[in-house]
Symmetry: C2
C-alpha cells in the first residue's frame, strides 16, 4: 500500500476502484479489525463501490456468547448477518461536532459513546454498531486514522462491534471534514425503562458533573483561554448503568444528557410523565472550571451538553443504594441526588431551588446556543 | 404551528427548543406517522435535543405480526424497543446524491430503497429503518417535506418502518442541502446467501436494464439534453427477490448493482469466489436512451450505477425457472440470463464476449467517474 496516497482523501477514494479499496482496507478495516486479523477474522477489500460492508456470520454460537467478539467478520457482503436476542433496542445518531478533535475525545469516540449511551439508557446491552462516514475531499488521512482508532478503542470498552459500514466522499466545500453516523443494536436486559414511567415521588440522580462537554467544545472552538483547560466528559456508560440495574434498583427512567444538557432531560421528563421536577441548585455537581466558564460568558451550566452523564429517576426507597452504586463506579464518583419528581399542574415545569432560597424555572436552552456540539 | 417558520431550515432548528420541535413534529413525524396518528400511534414532540428518537414498544405481538405496521410508536425515548427475530441482517448506507431530486426519484426514495435492497439481497425481509438527517441551514422546508413523504411512501411499499431517527442542522456551506443515512434491520428468511457460495457453473442473471440511475443523474447534473429523458430505476426489490427465493430456486448470491454498476458486482464476485465470470454483451439489457447517452459520452453502461437492479448467481438447473419468475414481476420484466461463472485462474476476471466475437475484459470503473451518484 502506497502511503503517499493518503496525504489527503480524494474524491476518487469514494468512487470505487483501487483508491477506494486502499482507503477502506488501509485505514478503516485495519483500524477496526487489524489487530484481530490473526484470530479468526477474515476480511477482504471491497474493490467495487466504496462501501465497507461487513457481514458477521454467526453460526453455532450459543446465545450467551452472542455479545462476545467472536463472530467472524465476512466482508464483501451487503449486510451483516447476526444472531439476535428476542428483544432489541435500535437507535441512530449523526455526529457533526466541530472541532472534531477536542480535549477529552474526538468525533470517533463521541460517535461510539453517543450510540452506546442511547442503548444503555433503555436497559439494552450494546451489541452491534454500524458506521457511516461522509468525508470531505482533502480530509487528512492521518486524522481519519486517529478517528478510526478512537472508534475501535471506544467500542472495545463496552464490547460493542462495528459490523457494517459505508463510506462516502463528497467534494471539498460540500461537507466539513467528516460527519459520522452510528446506528446501534442492543439486547434489552432490563425491560420497561421509559420516561413514561416516572411518577411523583421519584428521586432524580445525576451521575456526575454537568456541562463539561459543552464547555470544552465551546471554549476550544471560540478560543477562550481558561486557567484550567476544560475536558469533555465523553464516555460510554453501559458498565455503570448495568451495575445499577443488575443490583435490582427500581429505576423508572434513565437518560443521557446530551444536547440541551440536564435542563433538556428534566424538561422532557416533565412533558412525558406529566410531573413537575424540583431540583436543588447546590446539589447539582458542576466543576469549578465549568462554573467559571459559565459565569464569564453568562451560560447556565445545566443547559450545556454532557456526553458521559446519565440522569436517573428512581423509586425513592432505592435512591441511597443507587447513589452508592454510582459513586463506586469511576464514571459516577461525583454522582448526586439532585431533586424529586412532584405531582404536576396543567403546565409541567422544572423548578430550580436556588442556594439562597430563591426558586426559578429551569427552561430549555433557546435558539442556537451551540450548533454542532455533537 | 406557524408555517412561515418553515421557509427554510435554520440553525436553531437543530439547536433544541421550540424550533426543533416544530421541525421534527411538523415535518418529520407528520410525514412519517401523520396519516396513522388516529390508529394507535402516539407521538409527542421532542423539545429538547433535536433528535427524533422513536421507540416502538412491541408488547404481546405474535411473531408472525412482527413485521406488520402494528407496533406502537413511543417517541421521546432514546432507542426503539423492538421484538426481533433470532437471525437478523443489519446494514447502513449514507446518501449524498446530487441533485437530490431526479427523474424517477429523490434522495428520500433512494435512501429507503438502497437499504431495503442491501437487506433483501441477503435474503432478509426488511423490517426496521433508522433515519439520520444532516441538513444544511437554509434548506427549503418544502423540499424536506417532499423528501420525508418519499421516504414514507417508499417504506410503505415494502412494509418497512422508520422506528428511530436523528436530525442535525449544520451551518450554510458546511453540507450540501441534505445528507441522509439509513440503517436497516431485516429478518433472515432465506439463509446462506453469500458471494462466497458462487461456484463455476453458476448462471448469472440481471433483473433489468443496467445503467439507468447513473445515466439519469449524470445527464441531469451536467445538463445533457437527450431526446428521451432518462429515468432512474430506483426501486425497492424485496418483493421481487422474495418471489424468487420463496419458489425454492437455488441461489448462490444476490447483489444490487449500485455504485460501479454491473461491472463492480461481477468483479467483486470473481474476487470473493475465485471464479472468472463470462458475460455476453448482447444479452445484457440496456435501454436505447442509455445506450445513446453512453455512446455520446464514451461511457460503458455496465459501469454506470443502478438503484433498482439485482444480479443473481443461480445454480444452472434453476436458471430458466428463475428467469421466468423475475420476468413475471413488474421490476423484472427485462430480466435476462447474461453469462456464467467459470473456473478461474490465478487472477480472476470478468470477460465480456462482444457482439462481433471480440472478447474484452470488463473492469471496474476507474477514478471519480461520478461522485455523489447515491
Amino acid at each position: 500500500m502506497n502511503k503517499k496516497k493518503f496525504d489527503g482523501i480524494l474524491l476518487s477514494h469514494g468512487g470505487g476502484g483501487k483508491e477506494t479499496s486502499d482507503l477502506i482496507g488501509g485505514i478503516i478495516f485495519n483500524g477496526l479489525y487489524g489487530q484481530d486479523a490473526g484470530s479468526g477474522y477474515f476480511y477482504e477489500l471491497n474493490n467495487g463501490n466504496g462501501r465497507h460492508k461487513g457481514g458477521g456470520i454467526a453460526t453455532d454460537i450459543p446465545k450467551t456468547d452472542m455479545t462476545e467478539q467472536n463472530q467472524k467478520i465476512k466482508l464483501l457482503e451487503d449486510a451483516a448477518v447476526l444472531k439476535s436476542p428476542q428483544k432489541i433496542a435500535f437507535t441512530t445518531d449523526s455526529f457533526t461536532v466541530s472541532p472534531i478533535f477536542f480535549k477529552g475525545g474526538d468525533i470517533g469516540k463521541l460517535s461510539v459513546a453517543g450510540t452506546v449511551n442511547d442503548l444503555s439508557v433503555m436497559g439494552a446491552k450494546p451489541l452491534f454498531l454500524s458506521l457511516g462516514l461522509i468525508i470531505e475531499e482533502g480530509f487528512a488521512s492521518g486524522d481519519l486514522r486517529k478517528i478510526i482508532n478512537s472508534i475501535s478503542e471506544e467500542a472495545d470498552k463496552t464490547g460493542v462491534r462495528v459490523v457494517t459500514g459505508d463510506t462516502k466522499v463528497v467534494p471539498a466545500g460540500k461537507a466539513d471534514g467528516i460527519f459520522i453516523n452510528t446506528s446501534g443494536i442492543g439486547e434489552i436486559l432490563y425491560d420497561g425503562l421509559s420516561v413514561y414511567n416516572i411518577t411523583a415521588g421519584d428521586i432524580i440522580i445525576v451521575s456526575g458533573n454537568v456541562g463539561d462537554h459543552g464547555a470544552a467544545i465551546m471554549s476550544q472552538r471560540e478560543g477562550i483561554e481558561m486557567d484550567v483547560e476544560i475536558e469533555s466528559d465523553c464516555a460510554s456508560l453501559w458498565d455503570m448503568i448495568a451495575a445499577l440495574l443488575a443490583d435490582g434498583i427500581k429505576v423508572s427512567a434513565i437518560r443521557d444528557a446530551t444536547r440541551g444538557g440536564l435542563a433538556a432531560v428534566l424538561n422532557e421528563w416533565t412533558v412525558a410523565a406529566g410531573v413537575d421536577i424540583c431540583v436543588e441548585e447546590d446539589k447539582i455537581p458542576v466543576s469549578g472550571p465549568v462554573k467559571g466558564f459559565c459565569e464569564l460568558l453568562g451560560f447556565e451550566p445545566y443547559q450545556l451538553a454532557c456526553e458521559g452523564r446519565a440522569v436517573f429517576a428512581v423509586k425513592s426507597e432505592f435512591a441511597r443504594r443507587a447513589l452508592d452504586i454510582l459513586k463506586s463506579h469511576p464514571l459516577g464518583k461525583n454522582a448526586n441526588i439532585i431533586g424529586t419528581a412532584e405531582a404536576g399542574g396543567k403546565i409541567n415545569k422544572v423548578i430550580l431551588k436556588g442556594i439562597y432560597g430563591v426558586d426559578r424555572l429551569l427552561d430549555y436552552s433557546s435558539g442556537e446556543l451551540l450548533p454542532r456540539i455533537c
